[in-house]
Amino acid sequence: MNGSDRSVPAVIDKPRNSRSAIWFIAGCLAPAVLLVLVFTYYPMLRGVTMAFQNYTLFDLSDARFVGFGNFKEILDNPQFITALKNSVYWVFFSLICQFVLGFGIALLLKNRFFGRGFYQGMIFFPWAMSGFLIGLIWRWLYNGQIGVINNLLIKIGLIDTPIPFLSSPKWGMFAVITANVWYGIAFFAIMLLAALQSVPEEISEAAEVDGANRLQRLFRITIPYIMPTILTTVILRIIWIMNFPDLIYAMTNGGPAGSTHILATYMMDKIIFGGDYGKASAVGVVMMVVLVLFMVFYFAAARREKAGDF
């Protein structure tokens, strides 16, 4: 800042900014804040109010407020209930598998070895791809007639005839969740690896001298030490998976007969193919409420555990 600020005693934690500094700060922030305010926050708030309106793209003249009408209608729709249940499975199983496998990989990558950088690069690459392309790839792998997964399963003798993974309600969710797990492991591996590398060697070594075996060191020292990172990564990931329709859209588009819809794909379906913005927004509001409630519980539990410094 300017020269006079230097003489301010260190007790004052927020230095006073001169007038020119204030203009500089405001000028630098204005474009970012205004753009986000107008084109992100306004549409989101408008979206919330739209959930209470009869708002379809094909008949905008009749955009009256209908109270909780949209919510009643979607709650009465069995497709919505399926999507709600699927969202829970989708988030829960994807997250658990991604976390456990990603943590395992992070532990393996913790120690230096020849070619570690290259290996890390290879497992990192799905991040460069869109969920849509990943979905297309897995749609091909899971193909019911000539898909390579069916071919491999037949070859090793697990099945005799191909399974129609993507066109049977029984296997659909399994197929999309495994693809999502594949996509997300690297995220946890990279995040947790960075956290593991921040654990000071001395703590673990001291425990080893005291006779703690490797599992004890992992659960009593390493995991508590990186708990704040674990908690943040997990919650960010939950939000992200919940709001991630691309992969399912590409693999099954919610089919067959809506059996693989999650809330996010159900909502996109209502917008892209239905033009029914009122009901789509109602689905979005339900998603937001579910996430907010979940986060409240999550942070309350995290605080009770005193595990993280939120």
Partner: protein, 278 residues
């Protein structure tokens, strides 16, 4: 005894890592070799795990029956323009947030962070209606505007982390030497920040390149389509033509893979420091 246990453990480790690597790489490998197989080998049994004959027919095909070169061009224009604007806007905002303490700075960070948490899809329909009022539906500019707005918050968060690693004594010295605030930022700090800036730029470019739903909603005209919009219509158009599909997938993945490979370490750094700070 101990030596043997170590050797066994090493072997298990190597095995697990090898299996995982195969699982990660195989789907991409499969897409790649599918794109290089002739049609009749793709759709008939037995399945070849290594193509019997190689062909570029699928690649020729997508350029012949679709305007794939136009889609590539559009994708480059949209992704590049939005990434450039995002970088300019986010550099200013993140610099100020990293360097200056002022009342409300915490709230502004939260303002940016919150956009990453609430489901963006709620704003989807209203944003589309706003675009149509501004006559930006079915235009490249409309899509650039959306990607710019979507990219600003995360790029600000990511760049702020990079700025905080640059010692502030640098621009203080420059200002004593008579540089203005903006001059110090441009002439002294930005050159030092080059790696962080390029990582953020590339990350933002890749995000734009990969975005699907907004582009599908905003763009209809054939000559304005970006790659994801075109591929989205391929699904319905050539539902069974996995030869063309895989060739298009490979083509659209190559640029982003190269970009990520170029500065993977820095992108990882930018992303992890974001998560650690919450």
């Amino acid at each position: 005894m101990r030596g043997k246990a170590y050797a066994a453990e090493r072997a298990v480790r190597l095995l697990v890592m090898a299996v995982y690597l195969v699982v990660m790489v195989f789907p991409l490998y499969w897409m790649l070799i599918t794109s290089l197989k002739p049609q009749k080998d793709i759709f008939s049994l037995p399945i070849y795990y290594w193509p019997k004959t190689f062909t570029l027919a699928n690649y020729e095909n997508i350029f012949k029956i679709t305007k794939f070169h136009v889609y590539i061009f559009n994708s480059v224009i949209v992704s590049l323009s939005a990434a450039v604007i995002v970088l300019a806007v986010a550099t200013l905002s993140s610099y100020v947030l990293a360097r200056h303490k002022f009342r409300g700075s915490g709230q502004i960070m939260f303002f940016f962070f919150l956009t990453q948490v609430i489901p963006a899809f709620i704003g989807f329909a209203p944003l589309y209606l706003m675009l149509s009022k501004m006559n930006l539906v079915n235009t490249t500019q409309g899509l650039i505007l959306i990607y710019t707005v979507m990219g600003i918050p995360f790029s600000t968060i990511m760049l702020k982390g990079f700025f905080q690693r640059v010692p502030s004594s640098l621009e203080e010295a420059a200002q004593i030497d008579g540089c203005s605030r903006l001059g110090a930022l441009i002439r002294v700090i930005l050159p030092v920040m080059l790696p962080g800036l390029s990582a953020t730029f590339i990350f933002s470019f890749v995000q734009n390149w990969n975005e699907l739903f907004f582009s599908v909603i905003v763009i209809n005209s054939e000559h304005l389509k970006t790659i994801p919009v075109a591929m989205n219509s391929f699904i319905t158009k050539f539902d069974v033509d996995w030869g063309s599909m895989s060739a298009a997938t490979v083509l659209s993945v190559i640029p982003t893979m190269i970009l990520f490979a170029l500065c993977q370490r820095l992108i990882v750094q930018g992303l992890t420091q974001g998560a650690e700070k919450g």
